[in-house]
Amino acid sequence: MASVSVQSPTAGGMLRRPAATTGFWSWFTTVDHKKIGILYGVTAFIFFIVGGSEALLIRTQLSKPDNTLLSAGAYNQIFTMHGITMIFLVVMPMSAAFFNYLIPLMIGARDVAFPRLNAFSYWAFLFGGSFIYSSWFLGGAPNGGWFGYAPNSTTDPTIGMSFYAAGLLITGIASSAGAINLAVTVINMRAPGMSLFRLPVFVWMGLVVQLLLAFSLPIITVGLFELLFDREIGTNFFNVAKGGNPLLWQHLFWLFGHPEVYILILPAFGIISEIIPVFARKPLFGYQFVVFSGIAIGFIGFGVWAHHMFATGLGPVANTAFGISTAIIAVPTGVKIFNWMATLWRGDIRLATPMLFAIGTVTMFVIGGLSGVTHSVVPSDYQQTDTYYVIAHLHYVLFGGAIFGLFGGMYYWWPKVFGRRLGEGLGKTHFWIMLLGFNLTFGPMHILGLQGMIRREYTYPASLGLTFWNQVSSTGAFLIALSILVFIGNVVISSRRPRTFEADPWDGRTIEWMTTSPPPDYNFAEIPQVHALDDFWHRKYAEDKSGRLVPVQAGAAAEAGAHEDAGHGIHLPNPSFWPIIAAAGLPLLGYGVLFHWWMAGLGAVLVLVAFYGWALEPSAE
């Protein structure tokens, strides 16, 4: 029996600190931001398949009038879960995957500021999402919409909306911790010379998103607690019979919900702001304006929430004010689009798959942005709100914008993460099928909405005259599904090809392309000294007096590439059991509130013990 010496890594700790950084079990204890990024990405993609399947069920049900495939009860659960899944369990964590993996690499850091907290965020997200999904087996899934309007959500007799409230509180903890972590990382962990205005736009958008999260999540947290308390312990926040105010929920929800829209779209804006300059071989046009317009969108995003409530009777003063503020937010958004266009101007545009997705994002987002402007025209919004016109709008923004952008990011950074490219042929096939399917699905919804098709109805009679465009839309949905199968096929096929380990496959501009692909645990053998915006590009190319590019002598670029003997003596945080243990207590707390209070006690004890162990954990070396 080996005796434990005082110098051993376990000294003072409650659990032996795990040491393995490879192998299956290391994924459960890892604190490496790159591995956590991959975990986020894989999990979000699985939820994407689930949420997409729910969408296919919705479109199948609506493909003909008076369809009886789904009952009203089943349909209400499915459309609710589709919204919750795509927003909270797909786009947010997929963005978190990119931020986690890339922010430290792009700012020249070895990890995030709080590696164990990072792991905790991931596990809390995974357990929170699984908690919500467990509702299917424990009495029924949430059925009051992702917006969960009270008092419908508080009076519904099934347990679903309790799962909604408790589950989103758990994923909210994950997002809050992640937001603080990444914001601190960007502010404090930048490489020497990486001043704020040398940060890649993607990192800037990351910072804005984390701050939006940090300031908007507390608002929804208040709302979710009130909803949960109304349902589970009989408080009366939204109970009209006892003088509660149902509109209070809408204000709390949308005061979070609108910044949330920008939380979902700004990561994609950041991604394409990286892709377009690389594939146009020009610097981003108006860098400062793109950054500041992103910040402006973040600020104004907190001042437009009541445009979701124009029909609630707020009165002409409020409707005027929020109509105008909504129109104003189009201005900084337009600035971004014009700058991307100007980046294309006179470029040398290479239409590789990442660039196709980036251009797809811009063109599709323009449609969503313009239909958004029509919503600021309050009286016409009286007609369009709660119709398929809004569904069309939000999908052009969140699918045409966010999802297209995220796929662009996957194709772009795939070689960095896995050391091999995804196939170009299949990638382009994926893009064109998805673009066609997307427009067939959501384009007709503009018409359906204007023709009076309301949202969230599980069926419609043939007499409404909506059948044709619904059929077109449902056909498109299956084309999108086909395109996702092409993507999966691409991943499988490319993973069987030998790795190429290209460090810089696209002739990149930012410093993550300086290190090896995939990057070593420690990211950079030597932390790069940053001298300029697009530092890596300037190591490769100089500009002559007329702005033309001149390649720099070969060899100069490889400064920070990994050397054979690199990585010795670099201190990295050790893996830990505590993040996953602490996160495991959270769903127990949730089940406790919903079913048996003793489970909540167990969950609370587990969280507290884990935090105690976490605090006392020695740093292995």
């Binding site: 009203a72 009860g73 209400n76 009051g144 008092p151 419908n152 009076t155 009209v240 019979a241 105010n245 149902p246 071989r281 020009k282 610097p283 108006g286 860098y287 029909a311 609630t312 005027t320 105008i324 129109a327 104003i328 189009a330 201005v331 337009g334 700058n339 266009m341 100007a342 294309l344 006179r346 470029g347 040398d348 545009i349 323009v366 449609i367 313009l370 402007v373 600021s376 025209v377 009286p379 016409s380 009286y382 007609q383 709100t385 709660d386 204007l450 023709q451 009076g452 098709m453 949202r455 109805e457 599980y458 409404l464 005259g465 909506l466 059948t467 044709f468 465009w469 702005g547 590019l549």
Partner: protein
């Protein structure tokens, strides 16, 4: 290239042809039938036009740039490194702001116009959304019933209005106390007006008016629980003369049948549990939880406008098992024998 263009043009033509063949949508916001819906449409259409113009311009420029500046094989061109241009930035910040400011002028004017007080001769109706049907109460002094204790003319799922007269609706949400909940609904009849949410403990207002007689379909637009999709209703606009006749009829007590199957149905109704929820003016049935049935047969539809009042088979199907027809309905299934159902159908159809 030319082949591709022909393909695209062909597909577009095909799509338009299909669209033209599609039947007329009965809740079309672009086919307004009254001044208020028309005001909203007249605002939307030009704004949509501006949006389409911006769309074509932006997308056109993007596609042009992508085509013109695309990388050509074998050519290793180093593009000029242009970092930005402050004057352009200021220009494309101000230009959209100006366009939006221009759009906002008629927008704000219309917001205030639609929020105006109704004229003194408007028809006033209180609308109460319930899970999952609409109750309409005509609150004007000349619209009170001739019952022993007069009350407002009350209908369900059908709002009858005279053409050419402003209707001022007070919209709220209520509860029958039979297991249903007071939740938020949204009143919508697209061809006559935009939406107005029906919120418990709140009174909202909306104006509507129909130009010509006809049936204008509508439905609840805010998700309100299990049967949200089947919370439809309609406005039946009639000439002022027909409206006077209609309201005179509505004020009268229900006719009590004196013989035949309808009389049996009357006895069944009054001796059963029906009276606990349903009111029939001039009888002992004074329930208020469910729709008022006094002039049931004068209306076109029931059960959230899912079923046809004039179709005995529909009424029988409903009485046989309400929740089988409309998921979640708060009308219980009393497992009535067929002969009772037939009698009740006869009675209900006599309530003109």
């Amino acid at each position: 290239m030319r082949k591709k263009v022909i393909w695209v043009l062909g597909l577009v033509t095909l799509a338009i042809a299909f669209a033209a063949c599609a039947p007329h949508a009965t809740q079309d916001t672009l086919q307004p039938a009254g001044p208020f819906a028309r005001e909203e449409k007249n605002l939307f259409v030009p704004v949509f036009g501006v949006a389409v113009a911006v769309f074509l311009l932006v997308e056109g420029v993007i596609l042009y740039f992508v085509f013109k500046y695309r990388h050509r094989a074998g050519q290793d061109r180093m593009p000029p490194q242009i970092h930005g241009n402050t004057r352009l930035e200021i220009g494309w910040t101000i230009l959209p702001a100006v366009i939006l400011a221009v759009v906002m002028v008629p927008t704000v004017a219309t917001i205030w116009d639609l929020a105006r007080k109704p004229p003194s001769d408007s028809l006033n109706v209180t609308v109460i959304g319930q899970q999952w049907w609409w109750k309409f109460q005509y609150t004007d002094a000349d619209m009170q019933t001739a019952a022993e204790t007069p009350g407002p003319i009350t209908t369900a799922n059908e709002l009858v209005i005279p053409t050419g007269r402003v209707v001022y609706l007070t919209v709220t949400s209520g509860v029958g106390g039979i297991g249903d909940a007071a939740v938020i609904h949204s009143l919508w009849v697209p061809e006559l007006a935009g939406k107005q949410d029906a919120i418990p403990n709140h009174e909202n207002h909306i104006l509507l008016q129909a130009d010509v007689p006809g049936i204008y379909e509508g439905q609840c637009a805010e998700f309100c629980g299990l049967s949200h999709a089947i919370m439809k209703w309609h406005v039946r606009a009639v000439t002022p003369e027909d409206f006077a006749a209609w309201s005179a009829g509505q004020k009268e007590d229900a006719i009590t049948p004196t013989g035949g199957l309808a009389a049996t149905g009357f006895d069944t109704f009054m001796s059963g549990t029906c009276v606990q929820c349903h009111g029939i003016q001039g009888t002992d049935a004074q329930g208020i939880a469910g729709p008022n049935l006094t002039h049931f047969a004068s209306r076109k539809c029931f059960a959230g406008c899912l079923l046809d009042n004039t179709d005995p088979a529909d009424i029988a199907r409903w009485l046989h098992d309400p929740t089988a027809v409309k998921e979640g309905s708060f009308m219980p299934n009393y497992h009535l024998p067929d002969d009772q159902i037939q009698a009740l159908v006869a009675y209900l159809q006599s309530l003109k």
